[in-house]
Symmetry: C2
Subunit: 411 residues, 2 copies
């Protein structure tokens, strides 16, 4: 079956989540397929940020910690994110960055399995996950090691020396989706703790951490949660792991920070994984994105996301045959996140030419063009036009192979 | 000599830094003596925050990492803060929270002194500093210990087992100011690394880290730098410590994060102490505060700050004799930061009664009323009126001793 533009127009007309697009301030003339790198701006965010800056900070000053609930923001927004990922209230907290939270979670995992010495992950995991694990191992004097496998070999590698299996649910480069429940069960069967990085999945699909029996998780606020550039991240600790503590024992994790005790006494709840004073303005922006996401029907978002991806891949095959592209993302819905990636020898200059034409995806070294689908605001016709413009770029050879990717942008 | 209101009016009239007050959006009817807890809002901040939210995030989206220099913000703002504290460009970075940066700096210090096992601090240091040190010691399996002394005993306690001396330049509770150069020299004489927490001094007084030969430092963005609630913090590593690395080896500290290498290779410059993606909106707000501070003549600010403190203490003695107050801050200028603290058995309800009358200081358990002086925007007459209102509160006994401090606000 050949796809035609009218099919995509028809899908937009009957799209039940289409009204959410109007809640975002998307620029004219841009097809934004990079919401998995930096989510778009909700229209409600500027007013909320103005309020926190001008009214709460400017007028109420220090009193806002109580008067406007700054003191509970990490728990409040954390609880809201928990609803998106199948957590029980009190198991999630907004804090720090994904990297810093990974450090806390890995350290907690090693605490939970004191007799085991291996952190197991996949070699193609997002680099910061691997760096943080190596950094922790270095700090611990190499008493622990990071073992890296191909995705296919992870299962066999969960030996009885593995303290924690650390995986990212959706691979940042290929979009490959792990079966969370199955992998968690395998980790548990081998006596290991399971730690998931939800950076590319939270907000993009239904997640059931409780149902899957997950132990620990981290995730990102600035991708599908639309929390703004560098938005604070989140963490999850299953309620049963009450004895796990944070190695970053800052005062915001103390049971009673304002008694200014000399000795650290961790809060009995998830608050113990907080560290320093959180960035309130950025946190307020994140809350708007999360609130908006909570209004949307997640199963419908997932269905739309999968259809956007499937249609994109089919259009690439229909329109770009013989142009040197290879679809590197899994085609099966059950194995794909909310993105489709293409490899091409000239991926970098093609990405740049697309951006100049208003189609924003991103490049991942060495040869990947990555297109993310944010079902909350992407239209089906976005997919059609993106491929049409890509075809035009290739046909006209309107990309300059001499460009180098020294100026590559942030994931 | 008896102080009278006209003296304070006269000082305001001839105050050379008085014009800076007009650069802040201070609320009507408030005397704000809590800038050492949360600095006031610069009038330029809302427009800059609007710009970063609506234009940079909303319109330019992911492209802003390059187009608007988000990618270099931590270094750029760090360099500006460096000018306030006597750092050489490339020795300072904005990142994470003060607590998280302390963890990095303590870990780096232990790396620099691998044969020593003691972290030395003072028992009355700000709690998060002590908690972070204990948390690191716990993580390291108690191979290292935190030794706590009274301020007077610190000097004698710097034995040859001490890896790092960790002190806060201005004590959060008493306002006591360490002699940075002298203490650093003592630490070095004993072969220890010197780590300063500048939370209550950066932006309040001239600081010369290079001149004092300091090894490592951290500091806070939301106090005297007026960076907004929970603003990102900063860190300093002396250029000579090129081999010190961060235990929080996140991708923003990698030499080339966008090559997405599997192995961590720390940046050769201060960037290696970055961890995850920084909160851009909060960072943009911080930059405005720092830029404003850089316009001001720091020696004049320090002189004004000291005079504000001295006059406050003298007025307390003049107006509040017999009311049960004791001045706990050092009276000698060379030993005092930018605050004056009083102890009183009813410190908590008195603080609350003052706040209700528009005089905002804060309470520090168990019995301290803390008044901070931000010379950039506090007037001399603020000091007069604050003491006059405090006298009125005491005379009328318009405080309710039954209040409990469960709702205490954040430092």
């Amino acid at each position: 079956m050949t796809h035609v533009l009218d099919d995509f127009r028809g899908l937009d007309e009957t799209d039940e989540v289409r009204p959410f697009r109007e809640r975002f301030a998307l620029p004219e003339g841009v097809i934004y397929l990079d919401g998995n790198s930096l989510g778009a701006l909700p229209k409600a965010t500027p007013a909320r940020v103005r309020q926190v800056v001008e009214q709460e900070w400017g007028c109420d000053l220090i009193r806002s910690w109580n008067r406007h609930g700054w003191i509970d923001m990490q728990q409040r927004v954390g609880k809201k994110i928990g609803r998106l990922i199948g957590a029980v209230p009190g198991e999630t907290l907004v804090a720090d960055s994904t990297s810093v939270n990974l450090f806390k979670m890995l350290s907690a995992a090693l605490q939970l399995r004191p007799d085991r010495r291996v952190i197991l992950s996949e070699a193609s995991n997002f680099p910061t996950d691997l760096y943080i694990a190596e950094g922790l191992a270095d700090l611990l004097g190499r008493s622990h090691t990071l073992r890296l496998e191909t995705p296919e070999a992870v299962e066999q590698a969960i030996g009885d020396d593995v303290a924690v299996v650390m995986l990212t649910q959706v691979n940042y480069r290929t979009g490959r989706l792990w079966d969370m429940a199955a992998m968690t069960a395998l980790a548990h069967a081998a006596g290991a703790v399971m730690l998931w990085d939800l950076a590319h999945s939270a907000g993009a699909m239904p997640i059931d951490l409780s149902g899957a029996g997950v132990d620990l998780a981290v995730g990102c606020g600035y991708k599908f949660l639309n929390g703004g550039p560098g938005a604070p991240a989140f963490l999850y600790v299953a309620g049963r792991h009450r004895h796990a503590t944070s190695p970053l024992a800052g005062w915001f994790g103390h049971a009673t920070p304002f008694s200014f005790d000399q000795a650290y006494r961790p809060a009995s709840d998830i608050t113990r994984f907080a560290a320093g004073t959180p960035p309130v303005i950025s946190l307020a922006a994140l809350e708007v994105g999360v609130d908006l996401m909570l209004e949307a029907p997640m199963p419908a978002l997932r269905q739309k996301s999968l259809l956007l991806g499937r249609l994109f891949a089919e259009l690439v095959e229909q329109e770009l045959a013989g142009q040197g592209f290879r679809i590197v993302s899994p085609r099966a819905d059950a194995q794909r996140g909310s993105q489709v990636c293409l490899s091409h020898a000239k991926a970098w200059p093609i990405t740049q030419a697309l951006i100049e034409r208003g189609v924003i995806g991103d490049f991942r070294a060495p040869d990947i063009l990555r297109f993310g689908f944010a079902p909350l605001y992407n239209k089906y016709t976005d997919v059609w036009h993106a491929v049409a413009i890509l075809k035009d770029v290739m046909t006209q050879r309107s990309w300059n192979a001499s460009r180098h990717y020294a100026n590559a942008v942030v994931t």
